[in-house]
Amino acid sequence: MSLTVENLSVAYRSRRGDITAVDSVSFRLADGEIMGLAGESGSGKSTIGNALIYMDPRMKLAGGKALLDGKELPLSDNDAMRKLRMTEVSLVPQYAMSALPPTRRIGKIIADLLKSHGIKDRDEVLSELLRRLELIGLKDEILRRYAFELSGGMRQRVTIIMSSLLNPSLLIADEVTSALDVSTQRAVGEMLIEFRDRGYIKSAIAITHDLSILAQIADSITIMYAGRLAEKASTAAITEAPLHPYTQALIASLPEVGVRHEDTTLTGIPGRPPSLVNPPSGCRFRERCPFAFEKCTETPPFAEIRPGHQVACWKVSQEHGGGARVTVPAGAIADSASTKGTGK
């Protein structure tokens, strides 16, 4: 088990008191698993990503813990975390376009990072770096270039290489593809899978609001809503047979191939997510949920409806009652290392 998150709660300090952006979230990530984490802006998906690697001063750990390869991550201890960043847990940020410092050459930035981590044998890392650059079709002269001399796609790829250079157990890829065109999106996605396959990274969380890209790269998909997990299942199960009404609405709003932007209307899902300042009790989706009923005023458990498929919905729990009415494609069980390559 690469990553185990247990009852993780993360709050933001605010003048109206702490705002719990991530509320008691638990999930597990198998070795080799690429998990997609999707949700609307403000659903807490990026907060999870941030909490696992860098808590900025306004964030605080409100409860729970995270274990990486069986060792607890010192999430609140910035100094202790610093040593683990890049080496154990690493990040490809959503702002990859602007993540590379503009005034230093790429090679110098990497050298400075290695120095920060006290890595003595830099030659070995360097040759590994060259190998990886070659792998994704970048020339080694790129190390003598500045970030602004690279195209967007190149910058994205350089960022991924940098972030994964020290073979972290967990790579958090935050909205890595949102700023790219479709073909580059695909290339970046494939690169993530390739790196996982080669063991450069042991596991990954791909945070995005773009379900279509997750369908291509993720082994499993977790859907978040208003700070809580709504559903987690294999990619196939989420895209083809979602159970949570929210997931269903999301999938339904996916455009059909060939439809041009101009022609579609912004239907989405009626209503807005609830305020997290005073979140309503019970199911947080119930205001917008067409199936809501009285039971929904209680908080639904994130229950495993069937192996590898968890849902937080009273209606689903009642209907499925632990049974296995929906067929889940074999091999899509998220908990298994043998699921590599699915979803391609």
């Binding site: 702002y95 602007s98 993540a99 503009p102 400075d112 920060s116």
Partner: protein
């Protein structure tokens, strides 16, 4: 790259032509006739007045048709002949500028460069240390908010009038003739110090605050966050932030150095420091529009060169410029 440069060059060329044209117009467009005002001191009867008026107009190039005058002016500029001063008639404008320039350069370049270096250090330090920030920031603002004229009164008041530590004014002691002697150099130095201090202090606040704010912004920007997420030591992150913040500061420095050739009028006036600022002020006071014209050209050339140098420097070091060269917004 070449296209970018040639476009820039054309822009500067147009700016230069406009500048020179405006400059040409200065003594011609102002109401009142400078030659007439000058000659009124001679109290001449009309016949003599007309004769002298003609002589003077030739000297100033204000005779002939407007087009001839304009062409003649271009010819003069291109041959680095800026004509004759009316307030110091018949001294040449280039001579007067040549006398004043060294004082201005010696005053302003060290003041600006030293305040730049020290101010940036202070600002960067303030950005990382709360305690320092609480003292540097308010002090910096106070220095930045001080009107030059005031500082140029307060400093000599304290150091020259009340405490007699430094001479009040001038470029060197009147009792000396400029020579290579230690006495003379010492005199230059003591006279240089107070105006230097004035310019230095005001600039220092500006640089320090600029750097502090920039570094704080840079420490929160994407590349700093990324470095932090990859576990870079805080020291490394600050170094990067400082380096990023140095770019806008550097362009500010280049701009300041560009206008150096205009002198720092207020300081030079307050201390009667014989630089270009004082020359400019004297020209204004004497309504010496021909000298003004010459200084004006000088400033235009200085600013253009500085701008061009900024462009060149930024092309080599600043990513944002390169992006704009590729057509993206700067």
């Amino acid at each position: 790259m070449r296209r970018f440069l040639s476009r820039k060059l054309i822009t500067y060329l147009i700016a230069f032509v406009i500048g020179v044209t405006v400059d040409w117009g200065i003594p011609r467009l102002i109401p009142g006739d400078p030659v007439q005002a000058y000659l009124s001191q001679f109290r001449l009867q009309p016949a003599g007045y007309d004769a002298l008026y003609k002589t003077m107009s030739e000297a100033f190039g204000t005779n002939g048709s407007a087009w001839d005058q304009y062409m003649h002016y271009w010819q003069s500029i291109l041959t680095w002949n800026m004509g004759v001063s009316i307030g110091n008639f018949p001294a040449r404008v280039t001579t007067l500028i040549g006398q004043a320039l060294p004082y201005t350069l010696a005053l302003l370049i060290p003041a600006i460069v030293l305040s730049y270096i020290l101010g940036n250090r202070l600002g960067a330090a303030a950005a990382r240390r709360k305690g320092l920030d609480n003292s540097v920031l308010p002090l910096g603002y106070v220095f930045q908010a001080m009107p030059y004229p005031w500082l140029a009164l307060i400093i000599p008041y304290l150091l020259a009038v009340v405490w007699h530590v430094f001479p009040l004014s001038g470029g060197y002691s009147n009792s000396l003739l400029p020579t290579w002697s230690w006495t003379f150099i010492g005199s230059l130095l003591t006279h240089w110090f107070l105006p230097f201090l004035t310019v230095f202090l005001v600039s220092l606040g500006g640089w320090a605050i600029g750097m502090r704010n920039l570094v704080i912004y840079e420490l929160e920007n994407d590349s700093s966050r990324y470095l932090r997420a990859l576990g870079a030591r805080e020291r490394v992150i600050r170094r990067y932030a400082y380096r990023n913040a140095s770019l806008p500061q550097l362009s500010g420095l280049a701009l300041q150095l560009g206008v150096v050739v205009g002198g720092n009028i207020v300081t030079e006036i307050a201390f009667q420091y014989p630089g270009l600022g004082k020359l400019l002020y004297t020209a204004i006071g004497n309504k010496d529009y021909f000298l003004l014209q010459g200084i004006f050209i000088f400033i235009i050339i200085g600013v253009l060169i500085a701008n061009f140098v900024i462009d060149l420097v930024f092309i080599s070091i600043d990513p944002r410029t390169r992006l704009s060269m590729q057509g993206a917004p700067a």
